[in-house]
Symmetry: C2
């Protein structure tokens, strides 16, 4: 292998670093960012590992795209406007084809949501991608998981469950005759959208918000715990997509909507008089107490990296 | 294994998150930080992998301590005051003894330099530690690698080479009869100090700065490239420690000082009239041209993760 770490990074990643908040991008000991006056900074990090978060045969562009959107989804849940990102990339080898494909997916995702890449680290080892994202909101206008109150409505964006179906399709465990439907569901796993615009709308009206990365039930549980409330979900209200309902039975569709991860939709609570934004659906309500129930049955938490 | 990811993180890491700049710490979708008015944010990330950056038998507390200091060293090189950190921890298993030891080292390092831990991610896989650090400086007072001018002096802090000797001792490849000297050199690898106070002093007087993580020659090369200058180093001026000189011959000591990584000292350039801070030594000078030379011999770059 002849390309050095520095050349490799420069070749593929330095073109992605332009942005209004960026005072100094890739190439020094640290990046330098200017947070707008009167604003606070939101920061979050997500690690994706081959075998755990994606399979070895997922195209490099999809791995990159998903990693950026998964991290940016945490900014969406806070109501933040994207500012900059860092990439820590651990690679088994410096394969220039793979890197070109990866950087294309990275560049596409960063461009779509206005998230310049300002730094990172490259090391040699088992494939792992850590994306750190920064955003900003006016000083007192960020959302948290902890503001839900009894009487609030529980709402979700989009059509959860599609990403779980997409993953089954990509794994070859779900065969779908209609190529267009198959591709559309697979794309929900390969190319999730961070709901940044919705998050910025919600920060004016929602009482609490979380993104669905662990699964709707599990993330509803986190929101309930942080807010000190109970949440009741009515599975008959779940906004299941036509595509999802066309490829599996209703019970499986509901299970994936409730327990499948990777949707990166927003789950949020709305006070009584707040308007429901377009593309969102009420699926339950906030009550006094603790824990979550679905169709009156208490539920336990979802996927946990160390519990099995 | 019974402890969940969330309990594990809460048990060991949530106590480390207090700090002046922290509006919201661990436990939500993102942390929220308040950058002081008139200041800019510096951010950098460093990944350490078992087998590449440390050996499997290094105590967990040392692994954590080194990871924090290696990342914070990048803040030192910018002249930044530490503000907050994130930890992405990939672990083969949730071993509570190892985690307790790791969190002790993490807490010690974070407390020593005033760097609260405000978030992160925990995943299951081959041991990897990614630490992201944030700091701040007044808006126009951060250092970069790119301000060196012909006529400036090249200076270094501390006594480089000690960490390389310490690593050889820890590996069992260098046997030192004197236990105190052996322990002192090993500690330079196990427990490096990020030169944050020095960095804050230098940002008023230095023209360029970089931390020595890849090795003095390699990092001098980065500084020269970024500044568009050449650098001449005189190896007879290298500040070798008594401990280092007592355990190996002079040539090896110089080689480790020039090419060993892991010192996390600062390498910087001072304009003609700037005072040399205490504990620092002039080891060369900046001239017109490009590249670096040591004792009039041109040098190539140091350690590179992908070049071998």
């Amino acid at each position: 292998m002849t390309s050095s770490e520095f050349e490799l990074i420069q070749n593929y990643f330095t073109g992605l670093g332009e942005g209004e908040a960026v005072r100094l991008g890739i190439g020094d000991d640290a990046a330098v960012l200017q947070v707008p006056a009167g604003h606070v900074l939101q920061i979050s990090t997500d690690t994706a590992l081959e075998g755990t978060h994606f399979s070895a045969n997922l195209p490099a562009a999809d791995i990159a795209y998903r990693s950026v959107m998964a991290a940016a989804s945490d900014l969406a849940a806070m109501g933040a406007v994207p500012m900059a990102s860092l990439l820590s990339l651990t690679l088994p080898e410096a394969n220039s084809d793979w890197l070109r494909d990866f950087s294309t997916g990275l560049g596409t995702a960063c461009a779509e949501i206005g998230l310049p890449l300002v730094g990172g680290d490259t090391t040699r080892g088992p494939l792992a991608i850590t994306v750190t994202v920064m955003g900003s909101t006016p000083a007192d206008q960020f959302m948290t998981r902890s503001g839900a109150e009894p009487g609030d409505r529980l709402c979700v964006s989009g059509t959860p469950g599609d990403a779980a179906a997409g993953l089954e399709i990509l794994k070859g465990d779900l065969l779908v005759a209609d190529d267009a439907i198959s591709a559309a569901l697979a794309a929900r796993f390969r190319r999730p959208d961070a709901r940044l615009t919705l998050g910025q709308t919600l920060r004016e009206i929602a009482s609490a918000c979380i993104d669905i990365s662990d699964g709707l039930l599990a993330d509803a549980g986190h929101l309930a715990t942080c807010s000190g409330v109970a949440i009741e979900i009515d599975s008959s209200l779940l906004p299941l997509s036509e595509a999802l309902c066309s490829v599996i039975d209703m019970q499986q569709a509901k299970d994936w909507a409730l327990a499948g991860g990777d949707d990166y939709e927003l789950l949020f609570t709305l006070p009584r008089n707040a308007p429901l934004p377009a593309g969102c659906t009420q699926i339950g309500r906030v009550v006094s107490g603790s824990g979550i129930s679905c169709d009156h049955v208490p539920e336990l938490a979802g996927y946990d990296h160390f519990a099995h």
